[in-house]
């Protein structure tokens, strides 16, 4: 998880419920669900509730891509990465065949090229400085981390800059998405996808064993991974596409900038049909925003149900600066790299799209650099 943000309750101590924030999170979720139901959109309500469940699952399992990747790179520990692969494998079981067979569904695809490589690499640096990725930022903000509140703010800003940069980076060239099911059919594509996940697990375990490190995921990572994988499937069924996080941030930032007088009518990104529609329509019409809101309030409810909410002091300024720099890099990188650990890596691989693995391969060295830079911001390399 975005580590060290939450302290485990003392054994035997009764959980202290923070009624104010528990109530706020539940009322806010209920109002959002009511608003979309009034519009006759049960699928939107399902996305909010799916996000709510994801917020609880991530927070309770302390599931973190950022810390898992760092532990693997610094110590060789592979349990967290294996937990992440469990999520992807469960998700793939539904996404690959359904996206190939049902017209109303689609996988997370993206072109391969310099934009993907640069974006993922930059994102990798940012996630180690911020100490949380796209989903990690969401659930730790929901969990009461003021530091990650700063990271989220700058993530949003960075993603708007990324939206303005993306067309120029796409112009550098690239090739169309490579999807396993396009070549092998729905079931062959699923077999190839699961085989690629198994191969990755074998390589990761081999590295861990060679370094004498633990490669078994903890019980909470296994259970959390299963729960998160099943919720990913639910979000896919409700939204028609794999779960994504960061497009919502870009929409929020552009809406705020627009309200402050910024004109996006000449920005190429915001003239593409999808982003143009998202910018003009209600924020509750965007699938990514719906799950994001649910996840924030779900994590808030889970945190407030077990301890006083946001009761810790603000971290040192250096640490907040790290969160800001990391957030900016993640935001910009997520737009150029077509998403974060969730939208690009989990969603991409679970769709059988080659860009998911390319994103992983490019983000990992970015993480290495980010880990080296962490002490500059008062953060441990471990």
């Amino acid at each position: 998880m975005t580590t060290a943000t939450f302290a485990a309750p003392q054994a035997g101590a009764a959980p202290a419920i923070d009624r104010l924030f528990l109530g706020l999170s539940l009322v806010a979720t209920a109002v959002l669900v009511a608003l979309v139901l009034l519009d006759g959109q049960p699928a939107s309500a399902a996305l909010i509730l799916g996000g709510f469940g994801l917020g609880i699952a991530f927070l309770k399992a302390e599931f973190s891509y950022t810390a898992s990747w760092r532990r693997f790179l610094t110590r060789g520990e592979a349990g967290g990465l294996i937990g992440g692969l469990i999520v992807i494998a469960i998700c793939a079981l539904a996404v690959v065949p359904v996206a190939a067979l049902k017209h109303d569904f689609g996988g997370a695809i993206a072109p391969l090229g310099p934009s993907l490589l640069i974006g993922a690499f930059t994102f990798g640096i940012g996630m180690q400085l911020a100490n949380g990725c796209g989903s990690g930022t969401l659930y730790t903000v929901g969990g009461g981390s003021g530091r990650m509140l700063i990271a989220l703010l700058f993530f949003v800003v960075g993603s708007v800059f990324g939206s303005l940069s993306l067309p120029a980076f796409l112009a550098l060239g690239g090739i169309d998405p490579v999807l396993a099911s396009d070549y092998l059919g729905p079931w062959g594509g699923l077999a190839a996808t699961l085989a690629s996940i198994a191969l990755a697990a074998v390589v990761i375990i081999a590295v861990a064993r060679k370094r004498g490190a633990n490669y078994r995921p903890s019980r909470s990572y296994v259970l959390g991974g299963i729960a998160i994988g099943l919720l990913c499937v639910a979000v896919f069924i409700a939204g028609g596409h794999p779960w994504s996080v960061t497009f919502g941030y870009t929409v929020w930032g552009a809406k705020i900038a627009g309200a402050l007088g910024f004109d996006f009518s000449h920005a190429a990104f915001w003239q593409w049909p999808g982003p143009k529609h998202a910018l003009s329509d209600s924020v509750l019409s965007d699938t990514s925003s719906l799950t994001d809101f649910g996840m924030l309030f779900g994590a808030m409810a889970a945190a407030a149900a077990s301890k006083p909410f946001a009761a810790t002091a603000w971290p040192p300024l250096k640490s907040l600066l790290g969160a800001a720099v990391g957030g900016l890099l993640m935001g910009w990188g997520a737009r150029l790299g077509f998403g974060c650990n969730i939208g690009a890596f989990v969603g991409g691989v679970a769709s059988g799209s080659l860009h998911g693995w390319v994103w992983f391969a490019a983000a990992l060295p970015g993480c290495l650099i980010g880990i080296r830079l962490r002490p500059l911001f008062g953060l441990s390399r471990e």
């Binding site: 997370a108 796409l170 497009f247 990104f269 999808g274 019409s285 965007d286 946001a310 077509f338």
Partner: protein, 50 residues
Amino acid sequence: MRKVYIVVVLLGFAAIVGNHLVSPSSGRAVSPEDFAGACAPCGAPCPSKK
């Protein structure tokens, strides 16, 4: 930090509801990938379409 959180949550929630009430809502929630020509989760076009 609690006070900051209360302000952020209330402002954020008001912004969400306000945006929803003043913006058009064209039926079911969509992703940019739902639109013709989209080649990525953000709706970017395919390189081959250029």
